[in-house]
């Protein structure tokens, strides 16, 4: 099993720079929930996001179509981001295992960690990140989160990469 106490910055950056499509389990339609914030941010960064929320299936969340389950997705995804309580994990793992094309990455949100489940997913060749938020990690690595005073714990003599428009940094082109 990989070391879930310490993910290297390069590992996280590589994942975020290589992934293109993300299914977000537990994406909320409530505009002040953390999952909604993360969804809008990841969409703004150019990811193809697929909200998974059985109660919102057929509706748009943050402007994109929502699906009831991973089995309903119209195409394979690179990453599954789990924004649910730990109790929901076993069922979600079954759903992932039943996907016709397994995702390369399974990402468990801040506060969720289960090493047994991680081991099970890793045994099938998936890379697992636990107890992290992709929005925070993206913000750390592209540099934007520093604008609100957050300690990124990253130092660099390279410049942040600008996206078109005002005040947007990107990880595009940062994949090693």
């Amino acid at each position: 099993m990989s070391d879930h106490d310490n993910y290297s910055d390069a590992h996280i950056r590589d994942i975020l720079a290589s992934v293109r499509s993300i299914a977000m389990i537990g994406a909320s339609a409530n505009k002040v929930r953390p999952s909604y914030f993360a969804a809008t941010y990841l969409i703004a960064k150019g990811y193809d996001l697929y909200p998974i929320n059985v109660g919102q299936a057929g509706n748009e969340i943050a402007g994109v179509m929502t699906y009831a389950s991973l089995g309903d997705l119209p195409e394979p995804v690179d990453m599954v981001d789990v924004f649910r309580r730990a109790e929901a994990l076993p069922g979600i793992v079954d759903e992932i295992m039943a996907m016709p094309h397994l995702p390369k990455i399974v990402w468990l949100q801040l506060g969720i960690r289960d090493d047994n489940i991680a081991r099970k997913l890793e045994a099938e060749g998936m890379t697992v990140i636990q107890n992290r938020c992709p929005k925070i990690e993206y913000g750390r690595h592209c540099g934007e989160i520093a604008w609100v005073g957050v300690n990124r714990r990253i130092i660099s003599a390279k410049k942040p990469i600008l996206k078109p428009g005002y005040q947007h940094f990107t990880l595009e082109g940062q994949h090693a």
Partner: protein, 426 residues
């Protein structure tokens, strides 16, 4: 980088990458009040705290952000908020923690300005300080009531050079589930990192040793990321929906840097004491040499203190770096690299002798500040602490005979010679 960089590397690099638009290597001074939005959706995302970015310099500014990340890194915190002064930092911290009628416990060994702010001005907000008269953890625990919302100490207390037992007081704070706030102005993170000793929040006047040159006002709040705000719902600013942000719950949305965000998007936004980007730039530049300066301040201060300790016109010297000092043991535990650049001593002859000494020094500047590259001197009883009565002055370590010096980074021999000639005139 996978290994945590060392202190000196962080002091130079943390927060500061080359400018993305121009390649400028030194952080530019973004001297602008406002920032352009892409479109109305981008503006809405920024106002709703959904996107990271700048709206208005009262709330965020890219130059100030470099300062914030740098100090957060040096203190080992999750995030920071820079404001106009150390006093503004204290006001904003308490604004986030306190409701009308609440209490907090503060050490009596504090900078005189803080004693005023807590004891007088905060009464207008119906926030009530309870003083811990001694320095032992039990002195703090004795003041705990159901209304207590925080404990406040200075790591190295101004002006008496008292080293506080941060671990012991942090244990009391943890036991009663209130955050421990440590003012680390006099020690700086070079000498002491309070979060490593159990502090939850660090505040500092940046004007002093961090900036180092006495040319810019600033203050900072560092979020340790250690406190569980949701545990018992006693901090509604963090755990209740905020109507001004569509009912967002800050603790849930911003996790272990929620306190710093709360201070920014509520306290700083609504009370308004923003730091100027120019001052942030000056302070960033100063911090690059913090380790070099701070060690020299400590080395010089020890030499001067040892000289004064042997002088027949000096009654006593209170410097934790001296072997003879009652705080020497705690100093070696909490700040082994040195006891800082500020200390007090008593001149024989009381008030008049104190006034004479500060009038006759030639290199030392007679002024109300500490932490400058140049040496500074003040007679607290006639200046910074004159608003306190005799008992309060004594309790704060600022009695009639007390002289406070802030030892600069000049040649120690010149400082000793200057004090020698001034003492000779007593």
């Amino acid at each position: 980088m996978s290994n945590e960089p060392g202190f000196d590397t962080l002091a130079i690099h943390a927060g500061a990458q080359p400018d993305p638009a121009t390649g400028a290597r030194i952080t530019p001074i973004y001297q602008t009040a406002s920032f352009v939005f892409d479109d109305v959706d981008h503006a809405a995302a920024l106002f709703g705290l959904q996107a990271f970015g700048n709206i208005y310099t009262r709330i965020t500014n890219p130059t100030t952000a470099v300062l914030e990340e740098r100090v957060a890194a040096l203190e080992g915190g999750t995030a920071a908020l820079a404001v106009a002064s150390g006093h503004a930092a204290q006001l904003i911290v308490m604004h986030a923690l306190m409701q009308p009628g609440d209490e907090f416990i503060a050490s009596r060994k504090l900078y005189g300005g803080s004693i005023n702010q807590f004891g007088q001005s905060f009464k207008s907000f119906d926030w009530h300080v309870k003083w811990a008269e001694g320095t032992a953890a039990s002195d703090f625990e004795a003041q705990i009531t159901p209304k207590t919302k925080a404990i406040f100490i200075e790591s190295l207390a101004n002006p008496g050079g008292v080293v506080m037992d941060i671990n012991g007081i942090a244990e009391v704070a943890r036991k009663h589930h209130v955050p421990l706030i440590v003012d680390n102005t006099m020690a700086t993170p070079y000498l002491c990192r309070p979060i490593e000793h159990g502090a939850d929040i660090v505040v500092e006047s940046l004007t002093k040793f961090l900036a180092g040159h006495g040319n810019s006002m600033g203050g900072i709040i560092v979020d340790g990321g250690t406190f569980d705000w949701g545990k018992d719902n006693r901090y509604p600013v963090l755990t209740q929906p905020r109507p001004e942000y569509n009912d967002i719950v800050l603790a849930e949305t911003f996790g272990n840097f929620a306190f710093a965000i709360a201070c920014r998007v509520l306290g700083l936004r609504d009370l308004g004491p923003a730091i100027s980007p120019f001052n942030a730039f000056q302070i960033i530049t100063g911090i690059e040499t913090l380790a070099l300066r701070m060690q020299r301040h400590c080395d010089n201060a020890l030499k001067v203190a040892e000289y004064l300790e042997g002088h027949d016109k000096v009654e006593w010297v209170s410097y934790a770096g001296l072997q003879s000092d009652e705080h020497n043991k705690l100093q070696k535990q909490y700040m082994p690299k040195g006891a800082g650049g500020v200390f007090t001593f008593g001149v024989k002859g009381g008030y008049e002798a104190g006034v004479s000494l500060v009038s006759n020094v030639q290199i030392f500047s007679h002024l109300a500040n500490i932490g400058d590259t140049r040496s500074l001197v003040i007679h607290p009883a006639s200046t910074t602490h004159r608003q306190l009565d005799d008992d309060q002055q004594k309790a704060a370590g600022a009695g009639a005979d007390v002289i406070r010096v802030s030892i600069g980074i000049e040649d120690a021999d010149d400082l000793i010679a200057d004090l020698a000639q001034a003492l000779k005139q007593l």
